[in-house]
Symmetry: C2
Subunit: 612 residues, 2 copies
């Protein structure tokens, strides 16, 4: 069997598989799978080029299920490709199975986790951008989208960037089954509402009947032929297609059929099929590689002043020379984050994502699938725009290097909208993350170097203002370590970033009053140097340019929680809503400047001596 006959059969097979997999699991989204089954069947049988034995082969097409809840369809496709046994197919949604409720990369043919809607297409943009500009290979990225998720603005960020970068190697397929989770979508079956929007954004758009395999095939061919712009196939479909009881009916989203209904559905669908499609492998192709070059890493003189954001840019440019796989994405602020230094040095690997932080992170996720090492930066406050994308990136087991600049009240006059005061909390609460917060230029450069080899999500927090260089350029800063910048026996001040300098000044003041204060630079906020903290035998003051919740202070408390000798900890942080002003005024108002640190430390020492 081949051609349209096979495609129709395969569509029925995928629908039957969706029904029985979810019925067995007792949960899942069969109806959302059934609507897209023909779209997926024709893709697998006649257009997709993929070596299932070598999922990381650079020539492979990429397939992203932006509508990740259609996971029974994803797994049904893998069964139809002959790589998933009937036995494993039966483990859908069971504990320990690779067939999770929404697809994740525990399966080798799944590149990224989906299930938070509106993320697959922006990630696909990153893959296609990598294909065109980095790998320079002719693979195609296919993204199957739901109609409901077109309400997410991130989909239109993707539409914008795909057109801007002329990604004719990207095809979006929108499964317009009319029904969302709890009722009709905004646009129902008004296919033009989608295609006109895409055309206005610069795409080629084709409207089809999503259950007519000939139309589907023709649309995919048209997409493959279209040059200079991405193509969207807007397909009218029926949710629950193929089982009359639920077809095009509301109230069946995310509901598995009962055993009885499943039997009835299978009868209507013509029973279980076992077609296996011989998916053609792509032509071999060697991806483009950028040659490393001899570089000089930035070195700053102790006692001079440089902003850590500036050192980040300098270091990034050096890293880019040292390693050809480093790529950088900007959210239209590269002259503030200083990632422009990389852009100047390595323009072919620098991607302007404009003011679209979600797309910036998603593109980075897409690029790292192809083996690139993306660094993305913007103001730390604006990374909060993409928090759901970072959360999902961790579930995708993605390796991303993020940098947020302009952290804290120390930015000064621009005011609270530009001050990140939650970013440490935000990034600590990401699975497997690393959170680094340097206080000087040399430390920043070394941490950028260290980040290059980290797996998972790593985050570097930089400061707007110029700060004194306190470390020599050859000092080492292991991730998970800390630096004791000053010894002291009466009290320990634990700081990071901008507050390290305030802490050093406070220690000076305290020395004048006969108090010996230790100063610890906790540049690695996660993982934290628990051994050093637990070894302290004095009261502790923590100080951070951040809200009191979830940041450096909480990291310290976490390390001490079940220590045998739990020292008293006073946490200094920003608690009032800051306003505009000079950095020094704002640090003072927030109670995190040298004067407040010294006062808090002194009080602790006095109380401790009163007790003993």
């Amino acid at each position: 069997m081949e051609g349209p006959e096979l495609w129709r059969e395969l569509g029925q097979q995928l629908r039957a598989d969706a029904v029985r997999a979810s019925a067995k699991a007792g949960s899942g989204h069969p109806t959302s799978s059934m609507s897209a089954a023909d779209l997926a069947a024709v893709l697998l049988a006649a257009h997709f080029r993929y070596d299932f034995d070598e999922p990381r082969s650079p020539g492979n097409d990429r397939l992203v299920f932006s509508k990740g809840h259609a996971s029974p369809l994803v797994y049904g496709l893998f069964r139809a490709a002959g790589v998933l046994s009937e036995e494993e197919f039966g483990t859908y949604r069971q504990f320990g199975s690779r067939l999770e409720g929404h697809p994740t990369p525990v399966l080798p043919w799944v590149d990224v986790a989906t299930g938070s809607l509106g993320q697959g297409l922006p990630i696909g943009v990153g893959m296609a951008l990598a294909g065109k500009r980095l790998d320079r290979l002719p693979f195609r990225t296919w993204v199957i989208c739901g109609d409901s998720e077109m309400a997410e603005g991130s989909m239109w960020e993707a539409a914008e960037h795909a057109a801007f970068y002329e990604l004719d190697n990207l095809t979006a397929i929108v499964d317009v089954n009319r029904l969302g989770q709890r009722g009709e979508t905004m646009h129902g079956w008004d296919l033009a509402s989608y295609s006109e929007r895409f055309r206005a954004f610069g795409w080629h758009a084709i409207e089809i009947d999503g259950h007519d395999v000939a139309q589907i095939h023709a649309a995919y061919e048209e997409a493959e032929r279209t040059t200079g712009k991405p193509t969207v196939v807007v397909a009218k479909t029926l949710k629950g297609k193929g089982y009359s009881k639920i077809e095009d009916q509301g109230g069946w989203h995310g509901k598995a059929s009962s055993a009885e209904d499943a039997e009835e559905a299978l009868a209507e669908l013509g029973g279980i099929r076992n077609h296996v499609v011989d998916v053609p492998k792509p032509e071999h192709g060697e991806p483009h590689r950028f040659e490393p070059e001899a570089v000089e890493w930035p070195r700053y003189d102790v006692g001079s002043k440089v902003a850590t954001r500036k050192a980040y840019g300098d270091a990034l440019a050096a890293l880019g020379g040292e390693r050809g796989d480093v790529v950088v994405l900007d959210g239209e602020v590269s002259n503030s984050t200083y990632s422009e230094a990389f852009g100047d040095a390595h323009p072919e690997r620098f991607f302007q994502m404009y003011i679209a932080e979600q797309q910036m992170i998603a593109a980075a996720v897409g690029m790292q699938v192809l083996g690139w090492k993306p660094h993305a930066s913007t103001f730390a406050a604006f990374l909060s725009r993409a928090y759901d994308f970072v959360r999902m990136a961790a579930i995708s087991r993605a390796t991303l290097k993020l940098c947020g600049s302009h952290a804290g009240v120390s930015i000064g006059e621009d005011g609270p909208s530009q001050m990140a005061l939650e970013d440490l909390a935000e990034f600590r609460a990401v699975h497997g993350s690393t959170v680094l917060y340097p206080c000087d230029g040399n430390q920043t450069a070394r941490l950028v170097h260290a980040m290059a080899d980290l797996e998972g999500i790593s985050y570097l927090r930089t400061t707007r203002a110029d700060t004194p260089v306190v470390y020599g350029p050859d000092e080492e800063f292991p991730v998970g370590g800390s630096k004791t910048l000053r010894e002291g026996d009466d009290v320990a001040i634990v700081a990071a970033g901008i507050t390290v300098h305030e802490a050093l000044q406070a220690a000076e003041t305290l020395a004048g009053e006969g108090v010996s204060a230790r100063v610890i630079d906790l540049y690695s906020v996660k993982p934290v140097d628990g051994d050093t903290l637990r070894a302290l035998r004095t009261p502790i003051v923590t100080v951070e340019d951040h809200w009191p919740e979830g940041g450096l202070g909480d990291a310290v408390l976490g390390a001490l929680a079940d220590a045998d000798d739990r020292q008293r900890v006073v946490k200094l942080a920003v608690s009032g809503l800051p306003r505009s002003g000079k950095p020094a005024e704002l640090l003072a108002e927030a109670g995190i400047d040298a004067e407040h640190i010294a006062a808090a430390a002194l009080r602790l020492v006095q109380e401790a001596s009163a007790v003993s």
Copy 2:
């Protein structure tokens, strides 16, 4: 002076003011203000209806500067309206001044903080929606947008919703000055690229020369006349307009002029002017109010089972009856969060925002400006999509009530993409927030009731599964309190939500082994009941269905940090990346079920007795 002559003069006045204010401050965005000055001048002088003495007057037009960095223009407008003295105008960006770097509601004529781009238009949608559907008054919402921020997907969420809800009382003005922060925007002066996108989304779009006051006036009149759809005025402008040295030049974003340049600019602009516009007040109008009605609050029998998400929906419906100012927004999951119960009972106050969480939060912010009390809910994991909007809402001094359902691994089969494991960290790190996490139906209902009177951002975390009702329906749960569900002298288990039930079971197990375990239900995660925690004289086990960072355990550690008697704390939380499975399997795998709690508690007790 009046009409076009005045408008042109006023435009020059606003430009001169922008130059001199930022020059004096030494920072700010004069060029971004100068491009939009004529657009703002004609608005103030000929279209805006506003009682500056009564900024909360319900008939007032609303004005949102989505491009909040143009703050010199905002303050210049207030000076031109006669409500800001020359003296105060000179305090721009100074510590303690109301004229912050980006506008905030410390000024009575600023409704919401802007400065994180792409938020003003979605907030304007909320205001216009309130005007049309809630207040039912003919005021108009004007939003001045930058061209760079059109790259934010949230702007297109706003475009989508404004058209869907036929908001002809909303006018967006896009200041197309061609230049972003570090170079040209994607579309430069291609006005059609914007107007065609807006038209495809269902708007009326007008392209004009943004420095031709007659064209501006005509466009605003056309917007006022247009019915059934919102209007966008796409205006071609020059960044830095009016000062030849910087006009339409790159490299001048966010840069104040030197004193010398400012003098030159003022000379070119014709000097300082002091025109004061008599802004007409709106006609009086009484906003529509929804009558309260007699309601029965939900009551659940102790020992029965109900999901806290279900109780949230039931309570919300009751609250809506009791209070006519409560409104509810949904992100297309109201049958999962159960906010559909409110929608059924009060359809006129229920707003479907589809799968657009950013727009959902922004609309809530807009509605609360008009005095409504918005409650917004979706899966807790998907609230992370709108984190930047929540961050900014706190800076807007907004009062929002948020609910996230399906928290934690206990949701089961759907897998990690749907499991919020960072939401407690996320919402604790919001300025002035309240974070509540009920474990049973009656507690949920009482906390929904309590939230109604809270100011600022409050967040309620609900659970997917049915859980036993452990409290009577008349029990009180003060915010900042806790409940000791079981007394015990050997160890204290501190839990919330789903883990309360695991903790109670663990205490039973421990009792069988001769260990007396106290169980504390820490339903108020922020503010936290520090007195109760500090009074504990036994080791503590905290247990949460959340990552280890920033959640319940950290809240407990924070309360104990500087206590005189710091008990040892073992924190149980989810540390591995969860997969799909049955809730019980996943709680066990994460080490937060009754068995693991009992084991941790037993170990602590044994170690404590070994020491003593």
